[in-house]
């Protein structure tokens, strides 16, 4: 069918106000927070599950690609329409349907903003722990599709640990329910966790049931300041070894500290080589006891100082500041390329040292920060991609960072997803056999390869 005709059909499904095909509008859906961009042919904002199902049926019959999109904050190009087709913006489905205090779950539509759910459940004394730094703008669907982690991941786990059930529209336009709102369920295959982290390649998630937990009664927040970055990294491994699992254990190097301080001016130590931001929580006595143990470990590792946040305001400031770290790094150079290769936690010191060596070797600037307690650092390359020679050095450095992580028993991505940029490395992690199993799943669920083609698998190789 002709493109204009297809556009008319899409428009007929979602209505004129929610259909865009001008260059200007399409351009604004050609990117996410990663580097690569591509233009869609159409953009549609469906307002119901039924509209989504009709759009999928149309796409599957006519064979045009569909790129699901939440807030477009992805860091692996997940929503970027590499092969044109339709960008399906899912933010209109944004109702919190139920918060159940007896059974401790919440049911939300895909477009609900993560922190909006936080606010609602916290008002009831409950907690939905996943808290990606981008939570004030991300959608719940985007979090599920990327299996987002967050600052509290260390103690509480990541998105997948909270998803109980999903409603999904298949590429053929069928509406299916997977999982159960029971805490335990082993009925059939665990399809819920197949869709979690599927990066929009297997189905459109429309409704999510998540587990809630009681909010901790007390929190202790600390900042440990180091004159030696390697000692800070060693502290991370030592804290885990000491038997304490803090709720949060974030690492920031000197470049990151200064970028944040330029933005937020909250008095971070600009001269420190690294800081660790820590939080323990739970019953007051336990949280305090754990905090004491942590302080002792920091001191034993030559922390220059360990400061405790005295007021609620101070705590909020620290975490607010941490959340802006990545974007604040964009102040330093024109482009920021953030990786999230992850290693077993005991390997954090080696990883930190290795990244520094790589930066020195290629003469590039890398700001390092991240969820160190999870083994999940975010080495962020600060560069100017207009400089082609520098760009080549950057590419080599990226290759080496991934090789280093894998050699330490790590993984390519801790939370941002494979998307397009990392697809070429995936085989290095799982071998051709592992990749073949993944492909088989993709082919079974999306035989016409219309959902998010070009992601996870190197373009054109998704279907054998």
């Amino acid at each position: 069918m002709q493109k204009t005709k297809l556009g008319d059909q899409i428009k007929a499904i979602v209505g004129q106000d929610y259909f865009f095909d001008s260059y200007e509008d399409r351009l604004c859906y050609s990117y996410d927070a990663a580097i690569e961009e591509a233009m869609p042919e159409w953009v549609a904002m469906p307002g119901s599950v039924e509209e989504i199902a009709r759009l999928m049926t149309l796409a599957n019959t006519e064979g045009f690609p569909v790129y699901p999109r939440g807030a477009g904050t992805g860091l692996s190009g997940g929503s970027v329409p590499l092969k044109g087709g339709l960008v399906m913006v899912l933010t209109r489905l944004n109702r919190i349907r139920e918060i159940n205090q007896e059974d401790l779950y919440a049911i939300v539509e895909t477009g609900v903003i993560t922190s909006a759910l936080h606010e609602q459940v916290e008002a009831l004394g409950l907690l939905y722990p996943p808290d990606p730094a981008s939570m004030k703008v991300t959608t719940m669907g985007g979090n599920v599709a990327e299996n987002a982690g967050g600052l509290r991941g260390l103690k509480y786990g990541v998105t997948k640990d909270y998803v109980l059930a999903l409603q999904v529209v298949t590429p053929a336009g069928q509406v299916v329910r997977v999982g159960s709102k029971c805490v335990k369920s082993v009925s059939g295959y665990d399809l819920t966790h197949l869709y979690v982290g599927s990066e929009g390649t297997l189905g459109i998630i429309t409704e999510i049931t998540v587990k809630l937990v009681p909010a901790p009664e007390h929190k202790e927040s600390m900042m440990a300041i180091f004159d030696d970055m390697n000692m800070a990294a060693k502290t991370v491994a030592d804290i885990i070894k000491s038997g304490v699992i803090p709720a949060t254990l974030e690492f920031m190097d000197n470049t990151s500290i200064n970028a944040i301080e330029d933005f937020k001016k909250i008095g971070l130590p600009r001269d420190a080589q690294a800081i660790l931001l820590l939080e323990t929580d739970g019953v007051k006595a336990a949280a305090q006891h754990e905090a004491e143990k942590i302080i002792a470990v920091c001191k034993a590792n030559q922390a220059r100082d360990v400061k405790s946040a005295a007021t609620e305001q101070e705590k909020l400031q620290i975490w607010e500041a941490r959340r802006t770290c990545f974007s604040a790094l964009a102040r330093v150079r024109p482009n920021t390329i953030l990786e999230d290769a992850t290693v077993p936690r005991s390997k954090i010191p080696e990883m930190v040292r290795g990244v520094t060596d790589i930066a020195n070797k290629y003469g590039i600037q890398i700001g390092n920060f991240g969820h160190a307690g999870d083994g999940n650092l975010h080495p962020t390359i600060l560069t100017d991609l207009r400089n082609t020679e520098e760009k080549q050095r950057v590419q080599k450095a990226i290759d080496e960072i991934f090789a280093l992580a894998l050699s330490l028993g790590g993984t390519l991505t801790g939370e941002h997803g494979i998307g397009s940029a990392k697809a070429k490395y995936l085989e290095n992690e799982f071998g051709p056999e592992g990749l073949a199993v993944m492909r088989a799943i993709k082919t079974a669920l999306d035989p016409n390869n219309i959902l998010n083609p070009g992601k996870i698998f190197v373009a054109d190789t998704a279907i054998a």
């Binding site: 509008d25 604004c28 477009g72 904050t73 209109r92 981008s134 004030k136 964009a330």
Partner: protein, 371 residues
């Protein structure tokens, strides 16, 4: 279209994190990426890269911005979005692209009548007492601004009675007062803006003006931003705050109400005046003063700047603010900007049981007990 080198760098530095989606009032209503700073910056980049012409659609999106600076506060990359948007508008003007309808009307009105509403020039000062109709030498100049002169002159009258009652020495340009030039700058007519600024500065200098105080937050912003540092510029609430401190002004009557102060963008984020209006309200006997959850530099815009071009959107944004205030259970919203006053009142019609809305100046006048 010409951009400065530094602006091109800004555009490139946007790392597309999307943090601006949290606070952009236009985006929060439309949910459309092309309406948020990240989208607009991407469009500007396309123009810089010569991938996009200065189309009507581009123009419409670039003008559909409140210049409220919420995104500037939220932007961790530190991008001066407001400057970029204004530069893009100026670029279109310089390239000869006709202004969109609403802006063209505003421009014609300022050119002909020296006010954006098209009200007759000769009636500008008609609300003023005779003594203030013509300017005279004084170190203190009261600039009413177009909105107060034509739309909310009750506020202006209250202020003047109050200042006369406490023997405060000041003059006014009276019927010769001109627009502050903010509308020109905002629509991208930089040359017209600068000419008007020069004319105004020359007048003020002739009168020996040292301090300009204004009841209009938009004018305050313009004076601070475009008039150099020849004059000390104050918002009336700042003047009140110091008069209260010096006990030259006393609020005698009590008002046992719960009042929330609304941080307008022009007086707040653009001019950095946050505390004095609150100090004035706090001096009201019996009143309880509270803050919106998002206040001061995080305050949310009323939507007013879009009144001429996108009236429905402006009203819907205002209605959201009113609804927020209603949830807080306040009796009254106090504002320090005529645009906020007018637009919030518009928006309050969409919300049942909306709190009252008053200008701080009018409140002070009422409670100071001056006739």
């Amino acid at each position: 279209m010409e951009f400065m080198e530094s602006q091109v760098e800004e555009v490139i530095r946007c790392m597309k994190c999307g943090n601006c989606r949290e606070t952009c009032p236009v985006f929060l209503i439309t949910q459309d990426e092309s309406q948020v700073a990240r989208g607009k910056i991407r469009l500007i980049k396309a123009v810089i890269d010569r991938q996009l012409e200065l189309t009507d659609r581009f123009q419409d999106k670039i003008y559909n911005c409140l210049n409220c600076n919420a995104c500037v506060t939220t932007c961790p990359c530190g991008i001066e979005v407001d400057e970029l948007i204004t530069a893009a508008r100026a670029g279109m003007v310089n390239a000869g692209k006709p202004l969109p309808g609403a802006q063209a009307r505003v421009k014609a009105n300022v050119v002909v009548h020296m006010n954006p509403f098209g009200e007759p020039r000769e009636e500008r000062g008609s609300w003023l007492p005779a003594a203030l109709q013509t300017p005279r030498l004084s170190p203190n100049l009261y600039h009413a601004g177009c909105a107060v002169s034509y739309a909310t002159s009750r506020t202006g009258k209250a202020l003047i009675r109050l200042l006369q009652a406490i023997d405060f020495d000041f003059t006014s340009m009276g019927s010769q007062e001109r627009c502050c030039a903010d509308p020109y700058f905002r629509m991208g007519e930089q040359t017209l803006g600068r000419e008007l600024v020069e004319q105004n500065i020359a007048d003020y200098k002739r009168l020996g003006v040292e301090t300009i105080f204004t009841s209009c937050a938009g004018c305050l912003k313009a004076f601070k931003k475009h008039y150099g540092d020849t004059f000390r510029v104050l918002h009336v609430t700042q003047l009140f705050a110091s008069l209260l401190k010096e006990k030259k002004l006393v609020l005698a009557k009590s008002l046992p109400k719960k009042i929330v102060y609304f941080d307008g963008c022009d007086i707040g984020r653009h001019s950095n005046v946050y505390e004095e209006p609150r100090e004035v309200l706090q001096a009201i006997p019996g009143a309880t003063i509270v803050d919106f959850p998002a206040n001061r530099e995080n305050g949310r815009c009323c939507g007013g700047p879009l009144m001429p071009s996108h009236p429905d959107l402006a009203k819907r944004i205002a209605a959201e603010r009113i609804a927020e205030a209603k949830v807080m259970g306040v009796d009254m919203i106090a504002v320090a900007c005529p645009t906020c006053l007018v637009n919030l009142k518009e928006g309050s019609r969409l919300v049942e049981g909306a709190p009252e809305i008053h200008d701080v100046i009018a409140l002070v006048h009422r409670l100071a007990g001056v006739k």
